[in-house]
Amino acid sequence: MPVAAALKVLVVDDQNSVRQMTRLILEEIGIRYIHEAENGRQAMATAALQPLDLIISDFNMPEMDGLALLRAVRGHPAARKIPFILLTGRGDRELVVKAAQAGVNNYMIKPFTRDILRHKIEQVMGKLS
């Protein structure tokens, strides 16, 4: 059973407000180590450097979108075992299929509540304590 306070999570979203909101919710869940990145490229640099337990990434971002990030992570020797949750819009059904093929761990439709986020994380990481 993973301890929430010990999880290191990277939140990727180009929108600062959404990123901060996600952080707020993660903190409510009890997660303490939260890294942030504004786009796929920044996220990749962080993932290559930091030991991470989970990446939560938006899909729609300039430069490198969430799917491209997922593929880069899965192809990167140091980062490829990091669990990955993709945030999607409610119309992004086909995207989830592609993401599954690329090795995504879970997806979450925006906007989400704290309970849903927790549930989605627990589906991947196991029950949080």
Binding site: Q15, R41, R74, P77, P83, V96, A102, F112, V124
Partner: protein, 744 residues
């Protein structure tokens, strides 16, 4: 949630940016240049608004943004062509979006039917063009896509499937390896960088010490390497010794295709074979209970790989950080203080004995140099591209052109020119007004243009560039130009000039800058909003800028705005009058001269006239105006600074001494003293003294109105004083007594 309100503010700030992006992007889509990128950017902006609004619970915003987004998405996917009509609808939708954001921000209740029309229009576009598509999203977001066959992959499964590979290595160098100057130790070190290396040295071939030949390898190694890099990476290390050694690389765990080389191929997702994964996980668990710890070196190399990967991409947009304006302002202030301190330091050093000074001078110069650079870079943080204002103009032109049934093309040049944001903020209204004027009065109707032998489509050109430490913005059109007869007639009707006055064409054209002037035949709702060119001129002058105008009958006109790059630091001329020191903006100075007393003529209603190259220029006696009584320089020593009041009128300011040219930091005095006519602000000079910065134009206004008043008063006195005034020679008479102080 403590930070929620602040986050909402952040969201609304992002919305403002998004709105701008949409506003400037939509017309570009029509233009066709890079339209795919542009549509994507616009789509993303609307999408961001929607996403954020969803998270922060602004339901009305979400609903509207959703329809908006759906139309854009269809355009993005090529299912909908970008026609003028659709883009117009989208621009209207952006207005509604802007309203909704504004209302959400201020917490106003949004009327249920607000934006209904626009929404209906968008929905109609969807209905007409894409029968299958519907933008219905009134239901709350589901947690999962219904009916989608997706099973979340647990971290454990991932760990197992994407785990590191383990290799068994046998490496036995042959004699040639050393002879070719290869070193086994380096190879082993390289291997260790790939992951966890456990090696056992084979020493059985090692002979007795006496028999050892220095260039023969006797050792061999066997062991395991646990690495997340692929086999290829290992083989690369042995690339140069291949053939000069016995080498075996055998994989112990299943390898993952494409691993270690930047990931062109995603690995097989775990979800596909859950059972195989489970067994793998078990197998792996017995081998290595913990996930392979990464050696720091391996991380460095992988970082380098990412860097190389990113480098290969085309030049990306500059990354930005959002900083509160207040923080930058504080930095600007600190730099201002630093500039002052540095000026003081310079003066102190100047006063030191020669031997000490020579050693200090170089350091002080260095400090001065760095201070200047620091100032420039801090100022550039406040700088914004003029595009921030320019981008509002295409739409203005399009709408006005539609309203007036004229054909107008807007050309923009130099949109990326940067200028301080305080100036940008005050540029919007004047520019809007000038362009309105150009379109309303300047550009003719297509019929008129055809008759005049011009193309039906008129052109308005908006250009910005840096010129001599200022930013120059030109708004030119190829319209009819100014009708000087009509201007003259109007000016006479309104009593702005005397009926007999004879004016040069240029002077006539400049009359449009006078308060209370409007030549529009009738007040149209386009340019006749009670704001005339005089307000435009005042706006520009308020930020230390100048406005000038050129017009050619039948060919068009050009209005030029010359503005300072920043308001915080200014080029100033330090002057002395009596015992007082003032600073005059360099931008206001045309020339400085020391005229002989014979060139100065007394004239009733003035403080004297100066004859320069055959022209008479009214003088402003700063000493009188500011009521300075301390003795000054004798009249022959006095300096006249010729200044430009705009619209070609010049006047001379009489001072005692020019002390030098200096960059000064402008400090507002309004907070402490309110608005003082004639004083633009204050600054601290190198010697630590406070000096007022003069508002030159205002001074000339004050001086002329006072002169007129005293002149009238003297006439009223039965002409008693006239003789005295006429006889008053420059400098001989003392300052006249005043009942009213100009500045005080």
């Amino acid at each position: 949630m403590a930070g929620l309100d602040q986050l909402k503010q952040t969201f609304f700030d992002e919305c403002s940016e998004a709105l701008q992006q949409i506003e400037s992007g939509l017309p570009e889509i029509l233009g066709g240049a890079n339209s795919e990128d542009t549509i994507n950017a616009v789509f993303r902006s609307v999408h961001s608004v929607k996403g954020g609004a969803g998270i922060f619970g602004f339901e009305d915003l979400v609903k509207f943004a959703h329809v908006f987004e759906t139309v854009l998405d269809a355009m993005r996917g090529g299912k909908l062509a970008a026609t003028q009509e659709i883009v117009d609808r989208l621009l209207q939708a952006n207005d509604v979006l802007s309203d909704l954001i504004g209302m959400s921000r201020s917490g106003e209740a949004i009327p249920p039917d607000h934006g209904c029309e626009s929404r209906a229009a968008l929905e109609q576009i969807l209905r007409e063009n894409l029968p299958g598509e519907h933008a219905d999203n009134d239901a709350p977001a589901p947690a999962d896509f219904e009916g989608l066959d997706f099973v979340p992959v647990t971290a454990e499964q991932l760990q197992a499937s994407g785990g590191a590979g383990e290799y068994r290595l046998v490496f036995r160098p042959k004699p040639d390896l050393l002879k070719k100057a290869n070193e086994p130790l380096y190879i082993l070190r390289e291997l260790r960088k790939l992951g966890r290396l456990d090696l056992l040295a084979e020493t059985d071939r090692l002979p007795a010490l006496a028999e050892i030949e220095a260039d023969r390898p006797y050792l061999g190694w066997t062991g395991t390497l646990r690495t997340e890099a692929g086999r290829q990476a290992i083989e690369e290390i042995f690339e140069f010794v291949n053939g000069d050694c016995e080498l075996e690389i055998t994989s112990l765990a299943p390898e993952i295709p494409g691993a270690g080389d930047g990931g062109e191929e995603p690995p097989v997702p775990a979800a596909v074979e859950p059972e195989a994964d489970a067994s793998l996980a078990k197998a792996e668990a017995t081998r290595s209970p913990q996930s392979a710890p990464q050696a720091p070196i391996a991380r460095e190399t992988s970082e380098a790989a990412t860097a190389a990967q990113t480098k290969a991409k085309p030049a990306a947009a500059a990354t930005t950080t959002r900083i509160e304006l207040e923080k930058i302002d504080r930095a600007v202030n600190m730099v201002g203080e630093l500039v002052i301190a540095q000026a003081m330091l310079g003066q102190v050093v100047h006063g030191l004995p020669e031997d000490v000074r020579s050693r200090l001078v170089q350091v002080v110069d260095e400090v001065a140099h760095h201070t200047r650079e620091l100032k420039d870079s801090v100022m550039s943080m406040r700088a914004q591209q003029v595009n921030a204002v320019f981008q509002r103009m295409p739409r203005l032109v399009r709408e006005l052109a539609a309203k007036t049934a004229k054909k107008v093309r807007l050309e923009m040049v130099g949109e990326t020119t940067e200028v301080d944001r305080s100036i940008i903020e005050r540029l919007g209204d004047p520019l809007t007004h000038i362009i309105r004027n150009s379109l309303d009065h300047g550009i003719e109707t297509p019929t008129e243009r055809r008759a005049a032998g011009k193309s039906e489509e008129g052109t308005i050109r908006l250009a910005a560039e840096h010129r001599g430490g200022r930013i120059v913005i030109e708004i030119s059109d190829d319209g009819a130009g100014i009708n000087s007869e009509r201007v003259l007639q109007k000016a006479r009707e309104r009593g702005l000039i005397g009926p007999e006055a004879v004016l040069a064409e240029d002077e006539i054209n400049n009359l449009i800058f006078l308060p209370g002037f409007s030549t529009a035949e009738k007040i149209s709702d386009i340019s006749g909003r009670g704001v005339g060119m005089d307000v435009v001129r005042r706006n520009i002058q308020d930020v230390g800028g100048r406005i000038s105008l050129r017009s050619e009958r039948g060919r068009g006109m050009t209005i030029q705005l010359a503005l300072p790059l920043t308001l915080a630091v200014m080029d100033g001329m330090v002057i002395r009058v009596g015992s007082e020191t003032y600073v005059m903006p360099m931008s206001a100075i045309v020339e400085c001269l020391r005229p002989p007393a014979s060139d100065i003529h007394a004239l009733i209603g003035t403080s004297g006239m100066l004859k320069i190259r055959g022209n008479l220029v009214p003088l402003v006696q700063l000493r009188e105006l500011l009521d300075i009584t301390a003795a000054g320089t004798s009249s022959d020593e006095r300096v006249v600074i010729v200044s430009d009041a705009g619209e070609g009128t010049r006047f001379g300011i009489v001072v005692d001494e020019l002390c030098g040219h200096q960059q000064v930091v402008v400090k507002s005095i309004e907070e402490s003293y309110g608005s003082v006519p004639g004083i633009a602000g204050a600054t601290i000079l190198g010697n630590g003294r406070v000096a007022f910065i003069l508002d030159v134009e205002k001074l000339s206004d004050i001086a002329s109105s006072q002169n007129v008043q005293t002149g009238i008063a003297r006439f009223a006195n039965g002409g008693k004083e006239i003789a005295a005034v006429v006889n008053r020679d420059w400098g001989k008479s003392g300052p006249p007594r005043r009942t009213e102080k100009a500045v005080g």
